[in-house]
């Protein structure tokens, strides 16, 4: 039977188990949408391609499986770029399929023509420009394999309109390609690492997004408990170990607790698992862990010795490494080290004084955690509310905190929450947003409304680009420029404009009760929560400084 390129793409997406695709149609991908018309795949019409990309990310981050988004050529593709770059930096398996002008027009500066292929080389794991419909039979299965294998990442497939329309005979459909088996570690290196751990007096586990990707949380917990090793996580690794785990010491880095960063400074051995020694985690990298030997395990060999020279480097899947090393690890209670009590203590105060009529960020996050079901998925935008969430929200399950870490993209939270809600319609999803960030993709409220998704959008409203204001206060002589909003939109009114229920905790008689009611009610809502504009995230490492050079949060030392 003869199929067009567009029909082949849709058929192959079905074969790969894709049930939902987010995107926006346009001239150069209309054949693809015409083929989708006849398919059982559900299409979610985003209102901006960046939103579509983040919805696909929300699905991929919450499930761990590749998710697909569509965009047309030209502005469709360029609008998608931020979401793809975001997926690259956080290793998220997203497959973007873009329409391109017909082959004969490529290079002529045709209407809505841009070099999508060229522009996405540095922000994808790999990309394809498809020249013939026949190539789709290998490119699509290969893209799924690539996106999910090894260190996951985004793949872009650019398909000219004539290739979407080209009809070819397909007698047999290709099958799904198996994801590459993660590499196993070298025995000798495992023994060397085990010896280093057994000999260490003050070891620390430093875990990241790789721990989530590998599903290695339970094995990390086994190692930590057997050998009494405190664990600290990067922003990407939060949830690998449940908050409240006896050896969990919280997040590392720029907004870590003082005690957590001091733990790294005192350590004599760092066991780095699925991390990349990012500057927000390590601070000034030369001053990171000055007394420690370092074991670094990663599935991506290029991360080893990239930012920091280490003593023992292991190219391996984390589960493979941990399964191999666990039998070689001696039980050890490391009393002296563990008695320093690095665990997260719940008694930490608010980061500043809270005046009546405002929520303290810590109290607000504790209330949200109390009123949401245990399996709720949290997404965030980028800024102060994101760091407060990382500091105070008790994340208990892997893949229930979705946040733009590497690229730090404002506007991520709400569309990512849509994706998570599409992947898990039976669960509650809360998008924790800032009043700055929410405006960057607020158009996607239309999707929440149309699909009646169980998404609670909670806006931490402080009238500022808060983290910018904070840096201006602390490091730029309080020269506040371009960080305060004189227009303070009525988000509750905006929500109602989209047909979504809203709650203003600022004007409620019983804000706490109002929050409880809003979170308990099924279906979407927008919640506006007033936060003081002067509230900062503490403690904070001086940008460019070592992690021991922290400002504020002295009260948080315990």
């Amino acid at each position: 039977m003869k199929y067009s390129g567009a029909e082949i793409i849709i058929k192959l997406l079905e074969i790969h188990g894709i049930k939902i695709v987010e995107g926006i149609p346009g001239g150069a991908n209309l054949p693809l949408y015409n083929a989708l018309y006849k398919s059982g795949i559900r299409h979610i019409l985003a209102r901006h391609e960046q939103g579509a990309g983040f919805m696909a990310q929300g699905m991929a981050r919450s499930t761990g499986l590749p998710a697909v988004c569509f965009a047309t050529s030209g502005p469709g593709a360029t609008n998608l770029i931020t979401a793809i770059a975001d997926a690259k930096l956080d290793s998220v398996p997203v497959i973007a399929i873009t329409g391109q002008v017909s082959s004969s027009l490529i290079g002529t500066d045709a209407f809505q023509e841009v070099d999508t292929y060229g522009m996405t080389i540095p922000i994808t794991k790999h990309n394809f420009l498809v020249k013939k419909a026949e190539e789709l039979l290998s490119v699509i299965p290969e893209s799924f394999r690539l996106a999910a294998s090894g260190r996951p990442g985004p793949v872009l497939i650019d398909v000219p309109k004539d290739v979407q329309l080209e009809k070819i005979e397909v007698s047999e459909w290709p099958s799904v390609l198996a994801v590459d088996k993660p590499p196993a570690p070298d025995d000798k290196v495992v023994r060397e690492a085990a010896m280093a751990i057994n000999a260490s007096e003050r070891p620390v586990l430093y875990i990241g997004g790789g721990a989530i990707s590998a599903g290695a949380g339970p094995l990390i917990s086994d190692l930590a408990l057997k050998a009494s090793i405190p664990v600290s996580s990067t922003l990407m690794g939060i949830g690998a170990l449940a908050s409240g785990h006896p050896l969990y010491a919280g997040m590392i880095g720029m907004h870590a607790r003082r005690k957590t960063n001091e733990m790294f400074r005192e350590a004599d051995l760092i066991i780095a698992l699925g991390v990349r020694f990012d500057d927000r985690a390590t601070g000034k990298v030369d001053e990171f862990c000055p007394r420690a030997r370092i074991i670094h395990v990663d599935i991506d060999g290029a991360e080893l010795n990239k930012n920091k020279r280490v003593d023992i480097s292991v190219i391996s899947g984390l589960a493979e490494f941990l399964n191999d090393i666990l039998p070689l690890i001696e039980r050890n209670d490391r009393r002296e080290w563990i008695d320093k009590n690095f665990g997260v203590c719940d008694e930490t105060p608010e980061p500043g004084n809270v005046e009546p009529g405002y929520f303290g960020p810590k109290r607000l996050l504790n209330l949200i955690a109390r009123y949401l079901p245990g399996d709720a998925i949290i997404t965030t935008d980028v800024g102060q509310h994101q760091m407060w969430t990382a500091q105070y929200y008790p994340v208990k399950i892997p893949r229930t905190l979705l946040t733009s870490s590497g690229l730090g993209t404002m506007g991520f939270g709400m569309p990512a929450a849509i994706g998570a809600a599409l992947a898990y319609p039976e669960r509650t999803v809360a998008a924790i947003c800032g009043d700055g960030s929410i405006l960057m993709n607020i158009q996607e409220l239309a999707v929440i409304s149309e699909e009646r998704l169980n998404v609670k959008v909670i806006i931490f409203n402080n009238g500022h680009l808060g983290l910018v204001r904070q840096q201006q206060e602390l490091f730029y002589g309080k020269n506040y420029i371009a960080s305060g909003f004189s227009c303070r939109p009525d988000f509750c009114l905006i929500a109602r404009g989209f047909g979504i229920k809203s709650y203003d905790l600022g004007s409620a008689d019983d804000p706490e009760g109002e929050l409880e009611k809003a979170l308990a009610e099924p279906g979407p809502c927008v919640i506006n929560a007033p936060i003081m504009g002067s509230m900062n995230v503490y403690p904070m490492v001086v940008p460019g400084g070592g992690n021991h050079e922290m400002i504020g949060g002295e009260g948080n030392a315990d």
């Binding site: 292929y117 080389i121 540095p122 420009l129 690539l146 060999g301 290029a302 990239k306």
Partner: protein, 106 residues
């Protein structure tokens, strides 16, 4: 003319075998600019039946080399990567003369 072009080349050669299609050069060159690596010269030609090409990248022999090699290995269309310290670099400086061959265009 000759004196300027004949300056001695320094560095080492990274030899790549790559799938021969239009995007490969962009991926390799893009990697160098994206990661801030220096690239002093490129020679490239197809091999065998034309489905593969071999590229010779002239780079500085410095602390970035290890990371360059690792990143090149990650490229989808790069089949193999090897470092050649024994190659004659004179070709890179002679390239303008050699290209003209025996015909004298100037």
């Amino acid at each position: 003319m000759q004196t300027k072009n004949a300056k001695t080349m320094e560095g080492i050669v990274i030899e790549l075998e790559v799938n021969n299609h239009a995007g490969v050069m962009s991926h390799v060159a893009g990697l160098f600019s994206r990661r801030g690596f220096n690239l002093e010269g490129i020679l490239c030609g197809s091999i065998g039946d034309g489905s593969k090409s071999r590229m010779y990248l002239l780079v500085r022999d410095d602390e970035k080399l290890e990371q360059i090699i690792k990143q090149l290995r990650k490229l989808y269309d790069v089949v193999s990567v090897s470092v050649r310290r024994d190659y004659d670099l004179a070709l890179y400086s002679r390239i303008h003369e050699d290209n003209k061959g025996t015909k004298n265009f100037t």
